[in-house]
């Protein structure tokens, strides 16, 4: 185990644990952004430059922002009074521990676990671009379609149902409909202001 790996691992684990345990949702969101950043560092350390930078761009730049916006839109910025954990948290913890035990056992007994990395790995942007445009062109198109569908879907789901009554026309045409503000038609008179 090398020092950079240890630092990155501790950063990821600490930030992820903080994200899952902090009471304040905004703190959670910021901690998970740190965790995503740590993962990006891990990718960079593993010579996957393009993926690491994409990770920062997408997760820190977009997903974390999306999460804090969602927190603010659902008024979750305040720390809750009650416990933040669900009523059935003990079952969740048991399931998690068994899952982790299974994963760790299989990882530790895997034949590939002590493998050393290949000496020189070239994953230049050019290679990735070429691969995306030749071998992986179909998945790329599908992803494009998926993103478009997700964009439209997210907008439609989150859009407020607007009744035609509350729909505002732009201010200019509203002003022209001879709707003079009442304060101008009925100026406050000295006799009490009420007609």
């Amino acid at each position: 185990m090398t020092l950079p790996f240890a630092i990155i691992a501790i950063l990821i684990i600490a930030a992820a644990t903080a994200a899952m345990t902090l009471r304040n949702l905004i703190h959670s969101a910021l901690a998970v952004a740190v965790s995503f950043g740590g993962l990006a560092l891990a990718y960079l350390y593993l010579d996957a430059q393009f993926v690491g930078l994409t990770q920062i761009l997408v997760y820190v730049g977009a997903v974390a922002i999306l999460i804090v916006f969602a927190v603010l839109l659902t008024r979750g910025g305040e720390a809750p009074e009650k416990s933040v954990f669900s009523a059935s948290w003990i079952w969740g913890l048991l399931i998690t521990m068994s899952v982790f035990a299974t994963l760790a056992w299989s990882v530790l007994h895997s034949f590939a676990s002590q493998r050393e990395p290949a000496e020189k790995v070239g994953a230049t942007v050019k290679q990735i671009g070429d691969a995306l445009m030749t071998k992986f062109v179909l998945p790329l198109e599908v992803i494009g379609l998926l993103l478009t569908a997700a964009l439209i879907g997210a907008v439609i789901i989150a859009m407020r149902d607007e009744s035609p009554k509350t729909k505002m026309e732009d201010g200019r045409s509203k002003m022209d409909k001879s709707s003079v503000p009442s304060s101008i038609l009925h100026p406050p008179s000295s006799t009490g202001g009420r007609q």
Partner: protein
């Protein structure tokens, strides 16, 4: 260099943290964050396997991660939109209280 087992254990631990968060927290947004962490743990696995694999020049691991990031971004957008819609309806994001279907 760190052997592959280091990355795999890190990834497993991250997955466990995300799973624990998703299963135990009340707030829907935190549950979504936990799911994102699980997805990221899987991505770390892909990158580690690509880097330590037999023939890294094929770039399959990297491609998988790029697509997974795109899918995760779409998932986050739709998921958060759903949470906002749920909040509009129930005026809460507490998953223990959103249980109308339970009957």
């Amino acid at each position: 260099m760190t052997p592959l087992v280091g990355y795999l254990l890190l990834s497993a631990f991250l997955f466990a943290i995300g799973l624990a968060g998703a299963l135990t927290r009340r707030n829907a947004i935190i549950v979504l964050i936990g799911i994102e962490l699980m997805l990221n743990a899987a991505n770390l696995n892909f990158i580690a396997f690509w880097r330590y694999g037999e023939n890294p020049e094929v770039l399959t691991g990297i491609m998988f991660v790029i697509f997974a990031i795109a899918v995760a971004a779409a998932e986050a957008a739709v998921g958060l939109a759903l949470i906002i819609a749920i909040y509009r309806h129930y005026k809460t994001t507490n998953l223990d209280e959103v249980n109308t279907l339970k009957g």
